[in-house]
Symmetry: C2
Subunit: 139 residues, 2 copies
Amino acid sequence: MSESKGPIPGPVFNPVWLSDIKFDDKGLVTAVAVDHANGDVLMLAHMNAEALRLTLETGRMTYWSRSRKSLWVKGESSGNTQKLISAHLDCDGDALVFRIVQEGAGAACHEGYRSCFSRKFENGKWMRQGKPVVPQESP
Amino acid sequence: MSESKGPIPGPVFNPVWLSDIKFDDKGLVTAVAVDHANGDVLMLAHMNAEALRLTLETGRMTYWSRSRKSLWVKGESSGNTQKLISAHLDCDGDALVFRIVQEGAGAACHEGYRSCFSRKFENGKWMRQGKPVVPQESP
């Protein structure tokens, strides 16, 4: 038998970079996508080892959708793809920051906003800031 | 009996802002601290409702330490406190970005680096960038 015991299906997959990543009990790490142009945080999602491998190898941001339980090439259906510029790992090894270029219509958020973090705490409430850059899109 | 049934011990605690937050099955949300001066992501941690309330009310970043299972006023022991500038909620309601001023010696990372994300993916490895701004500190 030569089945892989690693986190990623396949014959052999054990690159140096993988050993520094501390996946949680669901096999995921947190991924923060940041606009390379101005540093704004655009979205927060999760990756399993395969999503991270694809992201690093293809340069196209690929997440793990916890709701759909599947790999999710960001923007594959909407055209709002994300091009990887650089990847950064934190001290605990369980969170990553990716500097990216938001392509397509420029909406990282599935609600059509540039950033998912479009609500700001003001006077005791979360107040929407700005307008969507595109009408509703699917992620 | 007048015990609270809410997520926070106390007689009554049900502010408007709390209803928009989607805590996970452990009662936590993800918190990303960003340097207000230049937008750099400094650290990623977690908050329960009480940590979030304290952060919003005191203006001092307060997290939930998953390892110590206790509230964690950032920098309380090291002096590297974080002053809240603004708080931003994402579309799913389960992640927050906080723009902050990193006080003290300027190290958000318990390893003494300005940012926890001090390792960058280069040539197939996570390579440390820069030097610590302070020697080892406790968080």
